[in-house]
């Protein structure tokens, strides 16, 4: 047993008994952690109502060596996720961040950069600006962090580099780009314009201020969405629940 302190995002809550909960946290230092929070539903106590979905808090937990649930002993709220005004889509965007963190990371596998990216994404969504680009960027960050970013510079079949501006298609079952020479009619693939490929590369490389500088056409949004939906679904081995509700 060891006591750990970390910044954390609450990504899932499940009732355990009438007043206790099992909390899934995405912690900056320890990655995903599932911990029992005794008395978490009471108003007073070591958690002070800090344990709401997507709350950013400072936590203390005891790591169980036996492989059982960790034990959460403290949670201090840093800030809540507060979607702007009456915007359900912003709320769903926040839920989607939680779904990706929960679905694509392993317990006790730390990804501090991913943690920071998740906070940035939630802040961007909460700021009330268009959530589409921050979400696309976060999807690329998650894929990169878990080693499943599609190859964006080369054909995923022949591995020849794809020049910027070259024609390519997105091969759904392989989750990567494919050059015209390798493409077969029986492969399920989708159209992707060279401009969209360039956008994907730019979004995957940069992680901060690029979002505001880009102007993206509706057609490019559609292609970006389709490409990332297939890359994420491919990695998750199912279609994310929140994509059915998120408006893009």
């Amino acid at each position: 047993m060891s006591t750990e302190k970390s910044d954390a995002l609450v990504i899932r809550l499940a009732d355990f008994s009438e007043s206790s909960r099992v909390v899934t946290l995405f912690t900056r230092e320890q990655g995903k952690v599932a911990a029992l929070a005794k008395g978490a539903k009471r108003l007073r106590g070591p958690f002070e109502a800090a344990l709401d979905l997507l709350s950013f808090c400072r936590v203390v937990f005891i790591r169980k060596s036996s492989g059982g649930l960790d034990l959460l002993t403290e949670a201090q709220l840093t800030r809540r996720f507060a979607p702007p005004g009456r915007d359900l889509n912003a709320l769903y965007g926040g839920y989607y961040v939680a779904e990706l963190l929960d679905g694509l990371t392993e317990e006790h596998d730390p990804h501090p950069d991913l943690f920071d990216a998740a906070l940035r994404t939630l802040d961007a969504i909460a700021s009330g600006s268009d959530p589409r680009l921050p979400i696309l960027q976060f999807e690329l960050t998650v894929l990169k962090e878990v080693g499943r970013l599609p190859e964006l510079d080369a054909c995923c079949a022949c591995h020849q580099p794809l020049e910027l501006g070259a024609a390519a298609r997105f091969w759904v079952s392989q989750g990567g780009l494919i050059c015209p020479a390798c493409s077969r009619p029986e492969y399920q693939h989708s159209e992707i314009q060279p401009g969209t490929v360039a956008l994907l590369r730019a979004l995957a490389d940069d992680d901060s201020t690029l979002a505001q500088r880009l102007s993206i056409t509706p057609r490019q949004y559609q292609e970006l969405r389709r490409t990332l939906t297939s890359a994420i679904s491919h990695t998750l081995e199912r279609r994310p629940k929140m994509l059915a509700l998120l408006k893009f």
Partner: protein, 208 residues
């Protein structure tokens, strides 16, 4: 972390007592020790006392169901609150669970009626509008002269999200939508709020 279930045969008083202890220990807030104490009491009290408890449990399970109008728990067609003609049926307080009705009723402040959703929208857990009584609520608002909806879902991200979903759904229906004042800590649940807090939250309700 699951509670260790003793095999009933292992109980020193035999399997019948063992089984009773196990079932009592399944109840919320009852640990192994309390379960032993309760079982001991039931074994040694009069037969009549013990069977009254058994009958009360059976009665509740066989007769209590959802109110046809508001989905509160009741043993009649309509719950006592919906049946009470002194209550203002045009003001409907929307809550997640029947226990929230009990908490709000304990304040004695609210004069309207209720609508129990049966939970909150939690798309990540697969809980969608079809799993709640949202359709019936919309029907009540449109056809039963509802003037005000008081949103009293839990002040959590999902509880607020549920209230927001309903508010958006009823946009343009002309119903006034208010929510409990924020006296109750965000992130907590109504059933653990105290009576004065809830009374203040009801009196100070504000536009959504």
């Amino acid at each position: 972390m699951a509670r260790r279930d003793f095999h009933p045969e292992e109980h020193p008083f035999g399997p019948a007592v063992g089984r009773l202890v196990n079932r009592l220990a399944d109840l919320p807030g009852v640990g192994r020790k309390s379960a032993e104490r309760l079982a001991n009491h039931l074994v040694s009290c009069s037969k009549r006392e013990a069977l009254e408890l058994a009958d009360a449990i059976r009665d509740v399970k066989e007769r209590v169901h959802r109110c046809q109008r508001c989905f509160n728990l009741t043993d009649g067609e309509l719950c006592p609150i919906c049946r009470d003609s002194r209550r203002d049926a045009a003001v409907v307080c929307v809550v997640e669970q029947p226990r929230d009705v009990a908490s709000l009723e304990a304040t004695g402040v609210f004069q309207g009626v209720y609508h129990v959703l049966g939970g909150r929208l939690a798309p990540l857990e697969g809980i969608t509008p079809g799993d709640l009584t949202i359709d019936s609520l919309v029907e009540r608002v449109r056809n039963q002269g509802v003037r005000e909806l008081v949103m009293a879902t839990n002040p959590t991200l999902e509880g607020d999200g549920t209230a927001l979903f309903i508010t958006n759904l009823l946009e343009g229906s002309g119903v006034k939508i208010t929510r409990l004042a924020r006296g109750i800590a965000t992130g907590s649940v109504l059933e653990f709020a105290n009576r004065e807090m809830l009374a203040d939250a009801l009196r100070g309700r504000q536009s959504f």
